[in-house]
Symmetry: C2
Subunit: 302 residues, 2 copies
Amino acid sequence: MKLNYHHLYYFWTVARTGHLTRAAESLHVSQSALSGQIRKLEDALGHDLFIREGRRLKLSEAGRIAFGYAEEIFKQGEKLTAVLGSGTEINRETLKIGAVATLSRNFQEGFLRPLLGREDLELKLVSGTLEDLLRRLSAHHLDLILSNQPIQGDEENPWRSRRIARQSVSIIGPPGDEQSTKIPEFLDGRSLIIPGRENNIRHAFDQLCDYHNVRPRIVAEVDDMAMMRLLARDTRHYAVLPPVVVRDELETGSLEDYGALPGVYEEFYAISIRRRFEPTLLTELLSQPAEELLTRSSNWSF
Amino acid sequence: MKLNYHHLYYFWTVARTGHLTRAAESLHVSQSALSGQIRKLEDALGHDLFIREGRRLKLSEAGRIAFGYAEEIFKQGEKLTAVLGSGTEINRETLKIGAVATLSRNFQEGFLRPLLGREDLELKLVSGTLEDLLRRLSAHHLDLILSNQPIQGDEENPWRSRRIARQSVSIIGPPGDEQSTKIPEFLDGRSLIIPGRENNIRHAFDQLCDYHNVRPRIVAEVDDMAMMRLLARDTRHYAVLPPVVVRDELETGSLEDYGALPGVYEEFYAISIRRRFEPTLLTELLSQPAEELLTRSSNWSF
DNA sequence: TCCATTCATTCTCTTTTACGGAACGGTATT
DNA sequence: AATACCGTTCCGTAAAAGAGAATGAATGGA
């Protein structure tokens, strides 16, 4: 069965206005034409969409269902014409990148920097939850997602996750403390700000603590890297952080790196979706061997 | 500018397959027809959708944008035909109700019970986050949302929130404790399980504590009412709960109600969206005066 | 109750649009 | 250089969407 979208469009406007005559006016067609087209849609779908009660139309249950889908369909269509019909020139290649909102801004900036230099390229940057971004990726409204966790693709959503960077995680704290004991014993009983449970760091960190049998005092659990940075800076607590997040503070000396946590890494992933017409730049980016991405990353990470 | 959805459909299949010829075969039309229709779409949109490089097609940037929208549009269309074309009879009126997943199941059941009796009605019940449900409501895939917080509608989403029930909230705990002091002094220093911050109860409860200067010890903060019920039953802690949630346990005596919290209420809201063809039953439901809903609610709540 | 009005449907005829086929023109392949 | 491949253009034809008039049913006044 093939759905006739023009019939559906007519149905949609009739269902919105509630009157065939008024819909016909707004569509600049005659009542008779409209009536006939809607009848054809009903035949094709195998369901009556309206219940004819005398001279008025009522939506049937099937009509209500169809209306829901039609609403989605034509909202998207209107968006499309709005975007393309605005007269603006769309000549430059655009790369639409989504970043998980809790990701380090320094990391995001680092990833984007080599792209920002290119005159022939336009960037669109969106932040949101991973779930939200994945939805947009599936809808082809994004080309790439930057995330701190990989996603396994499946039949329905052929996602590809690719690790693009890995960096050590340190204990960051106020400067000048004597460091009597080494990591990880250093941690025992100390007040710590740590990443939230969604973050891969957290898992590795918990395992590290268990293994060495150290029990830090958790004062805050924060999923947003920018927020962690602020808290590390503005409290006297220690934080479990990749140094890149507080690069500026480490340089000015307002925070100090008390050493890397062995075996704990923050990892970054690029999630894309396989499709026939990838933007050429994306293909370039993702076809590079991991080492080059990592090399490049260490370039801008520190 | 009017978007021709058949042209867009052709464009979509060509963009998916990557070849005009193969797309023409799968569409059972000739290459020439397909080529012409796509040209018309490009003229209408004012942008080239493909870049013709010799004998092959490449998606242009405008094409990529259009493809994203087309993907959404025709996925919806396929769903529609799948739902309506499955040959199943759709005669009975259907009411699609979304319930915020953390809502008391007893409450949900109570709201649904009078509807369940009706032979002429089919119910669809969906649970999810409020955000998720609101999205479906806007897309007309839901008729009504049951929530514990109201939502202010705006221009874009003409939501209507309506309070349908309000019930007192009590301190629930293990049976048999002597009650030396009254609520709210009773709370001071006591181990409590309380609702999460998204819940209206929580706000009122915090204010109550502040006002009377009592400081309970919070052992758990839980957003799901079914979970709270389990915790109240299976731990020795006290819980801040509407009695209806643990109705069964109160009856059997495995839990005890230590008294209502003054000024703290759990409120339930029905959120709907104004539209031209409301299911008649929904109109009936929502046109009732609040008192009747409340009266009816107390009927099934206890 | 009757008549005018409103509104949707059905019929026939016209106009518009989509379609297929053939010819054309580039582009990889060998 | 020959050939197969693939997309575009042109033109006549087939299918569809459209307008207009006639029909009929329901509503709303007088």
